[in-house]
């Protein structure tokens, strides 16, 4: 059992939890993820690792209420325990293999969409502590979905925020800011985009115009997260890859986004039906 040490809602729809999982905390690296199974009858849900504290043995997860399973995870309170926390899973970000010397001369641009801000944070923090220069763009649909602003500001050189409806930061899309920065002559050695599949697709189109190296992190469907089921398969440069073990990060220009988006929705109708049944079962 994995005890929830602290819990807070960052926005009405996004919940942050610190969970005691010493083995995961000990080995987690930027770019990796974990799987949570809340209780005995719940699904295994892949979630991003937002932070880790090796001394305390805790990992920080951030969950957005989007369906039945995430609602269950967010309904757990501090002091309660999840049945399972498995990880870290996936390959760490490539930059962890770079030397401090190399990193101190590098400049990164991160593009975070909504909940994607959570997995971006440990990467920015790692790079910042290693002496790299890091700019971050956070985009969200509206003010209620902007998270971790202060935390991110503390570890980045420049932070840009935009919302689709202009309710916070500037009104517009992450690709607008990205284009403006690159147009104004800003140079980056590497860009990284993490967020909804559709956002990553458009960032990739934008990136291609400028020829900037770009990595994306694919949040596919998964069951085990260790290469067993193949639910997470994606086409990368014409070849089938498993996001859970070969990824989750890939060269953006190699990703078949249309297929990835279609596969992500495979269980949507069944889950809606299940979600509906759940409500009937609750005596509210």
């Amino acid at each position: 059992m994995y005890k929830i040490l602290r819990k807070k809602f960052l926005t009405p729809a996004i919940c942050l939890m610190d969970v005691l999982a010493p083995r995961v905390a000990q080995s987690a690296q930027p770019g990796q993820f974990l799987i949570v199974r809340a209780g005995e009858k719940n699904e295994r849900i892949p979630l991003t690792i937002c932070d880790y504290n090796r001394e305390e043995g805790s990992v920080t997860i951030v969950t957005q209420l989007v369906g039945a399973s995430t609602r269950i995870i967010c309904s757990y309170e501090a002091g309660e325990s999840f049945a399972d926390v498995v990880g870290p899973l996936g390959q760490p970000s490539e930059f962890i293999h770079l030397s401090p010397e190399e990193l101190s001369h590098s400049r990164y641009l991160f593009i975070a969409g909504g909940l994607g801000t959570a997995p971006v944070y440990p990467q920015v923090k790692y790079l910042h502590q290693a002496g790299a220069k890091v700019d971050v763009i956070i985009g969200a649909r509206n003010k209620d979905l902007v998270i971790l602003e202060e935390e991110m500001r503390a570890v980045s050189d420049h932070l840009y925020i935009c919302t689709d409806d202009g309710s916070y930061g500037e009104k517009g899309l992450v690709t607008d800011i990205m284009g403006r920065l690159l147009d104004s002559g800003e140079k980056y050695d590497q860009a990284v985009a993490i967020g909804p599949m559709i956002m990553m697709k458009f960032v990739t189109l934008k990136g291609r115009q400028y020829g900037i190296p770009l990595i994306v992190s694919l949040n596919t469907l998964m069951v085990d997260g260790t290469g067993m089921c193949g639910a997470c398969r994606v086409t990368i440069a014409g070849k089938t890859r498993f996001a859970c073990v070969d990824g989750p990060e890939f060269n953006a220009y190699d990703v078949d986004f249309e297929e990835a988006m279609r596969r992500q929705g495979m269980y949507r109708d069944i889950e809606k039906e299940k979600d509906h049944q759940c409500h009937i079962g609750l005596h509210q």
Partner: protein, 462 residues
């Protein structure tokens, strides 16, 4: 003469009924049936059945106890060589092992050794009979990676000899393929698998779930940071294969691993669990092994019409004859000498059919089997909304890649000798991780041999 008694038939759930539920197909023997069947055994002086058993269960010895009505003693005899008798009594390919070697089988029907093993194991469980004899603790730590048949067999023997054994399991339940792969209707999870895993725990074996060796910890960590003196790797062959044909990533195409894991480990067929399972109106299963039969029969039980597509003839089907027979009884259609060439999608990217080509058997290949060759111009389509790829599995590379000095062969299998010794000192391996996908019992045999080798190596270190 004892051998004049015909083999006692085993009672099974009616095919038309069981095709719609997940309850166990085979009911097994009752005591009366078991005693009668046991009386058929000739108690050979040189029992060929024991030689043919990968874990060398003392078969005539336990059967003679059953014949005498001393089921408890029969259970004790089995427990010396196997910690998973209720599992093996259900899923072993007895027809090619113990029963295949039974002298009665030469002219008639062999003794139903598997069904007798199952009866003894089920009787023990129902009567609360357990055997946990073990040597005094020696305080030496051994790590076992994977809680499937190989790992459990290895851990059981080592625990009996007094070692301090911890098993690391990647999934949330112990049992490996017994949990995620083999369906409830062939191998009940709570009643059988969890009970026998619990028996292994009672020997003092610790099982830590949710640990991904290669990510959460490495084999080096186990030695250097956690004080283990030897490591056994029984991580199985969990990586699904695909054909590489067009359309394989369409929505509605699954690996048998995904489909079965959702149903078995995650209880997708049970509406009280959250796991979504896609069960089409029609399912095409590609492949002819036991896993293909499991996937086909699971899809059928979820309400699908099911067709199995296999490229050779019925004679070459790698699945057990019993499984094929059960599948046919339940109404599964077999399209033999047929191979998929493309999966067809609709405008939204969902499967709408599968294009196949007819095959004929050509010259024998290096394995001695006649290899199937396509018949030109014989392509045709089968309408379906689900395709389940059951083409076999290969070992997961995660452990080998994260363990310096641990070598694999071209097929990604760990290189190990007869005793399980790998290319890395004090690291042993066995089961599907070494052989590629094989059977429960062969994995258990490998786990036992490795346990003996670990014991020898650690004793000589003293």
């Amino acid at each position: 003469m004892a051998n004049k008694i015909p083999r006692v038939p085993v009672r099974e759930q009616d095919p038309a009924v069981r095709a719609r539920n997940f309850e166990e197909v085979c009911y097994g023997y009752n005591e009366q049936e078991a005693v009668l069947e046991a009386s058929r055994c000739l108690n050979c002086k040189k029992p060929r059945c024991v030689e043919a058993c990968p874990v060398s269960i003392q078969i005539p010895a336990f059967i003679s106890k059953v014949a005498a009505g001393d089921i408890k003693e029969a259970a004790r005899i089995i427990s010396q060589d196997s910690s998973l008798p209720a599992v093996c009594g259900r899923v072993c390919p007895q027809e090619t092992q113990c029963e295949g070697s039974c002298i009665l089988g030469v002219k008639g029907e062999p003794v139903a050794i598997g069904k007798l093993e199952r009866f003894v194991a089920d009787w023990s469980r129902q009567n609360g009979v357990r055997f946990a004899d073990k040597a005094p603790a020696n305080g030496i730590k051994v790590a076992v990676v994977g809680s499937g048949p190989a790992g459990l067999a290895c851990a059981s023997d080592l625990a009996r000899w007094g070692y301090d054994v911890t098993v690391f399991e990647v999934l949330h339940k112990a049992g490996g393929v017994l949990q995620y792969g083999i369906p409830e209707f062939r191998l009940p999870k709570q009643e059988v698998v969890e009970y026998e895993v619990e028996n292994v725990r009672r020997l003092g074996v610790k099982i830590e779930t949710d640990v991904v060796v290669g990510r959460t910890v490495t084999v080096d960590d186990l030695f250097d940071k956690e004080g283990f003196k030897a490591v056994f790797i029984g991580s199985g062959a969990g990586l699904p294969k695909f054909m590489g044909i067009p359309g394989e990533n369409l929505n509605g195409v699954f690996s048998a691993n995904e489909f079965l894991t959702r149903n078995n480990l995650m209880h997708g067929y049970d509406p009280t669990y959250d796991t979504p399972v896609f069960s089409g109106r029609r399912s095409v299963i590609v492949g002819g092994g036991n896993v293909a039969m499991d996937a086909a029969r699971t899809a059928l039980r979820l309400g699908s019409e099911v067709t199995v597509v296999y490229r050779r003839t019925e004679k070459e089907l790698p699945a057990r004859v019993e499984e094929v027979h059960h599948a046919k009884e339940e109404g599964i259609e077999f399209r033999l000498l047929t191979n998929p060439v493309e999966i067809l999608g609709d405008e939204k990217g969902w499967v709408r059919g599968i294009r196949c080509i007819r095959m004929e058997l050509g010259e024998p290949d290096e394995s001695g089997r006649r290899s199937p060759v396509p018949v030109p111009g014989s392509e045709f389509e089968i309408e379906t909304d689900t395709v389940i790829m059951s083409l076999g599995t290969s070992p997961n590379p995660m452990i080998a890649r994260s363990t310096p000095g641990l070598e694999t062969n071209r097929r990604g299998c760990l290189i190990a000798d007869e005793d399980g010794a790998t290319t890395r000192p004090m690291v042993f391996a066995g089961g599907d991780a070494v052989t590629g996908a094989a059977t429960v019992i062969l994995a258990m045999g490998a786990g036992r041999r490795a346990a003996a080798a670990i014991h020898k190596a650690l004793q000589s270190e003293k």
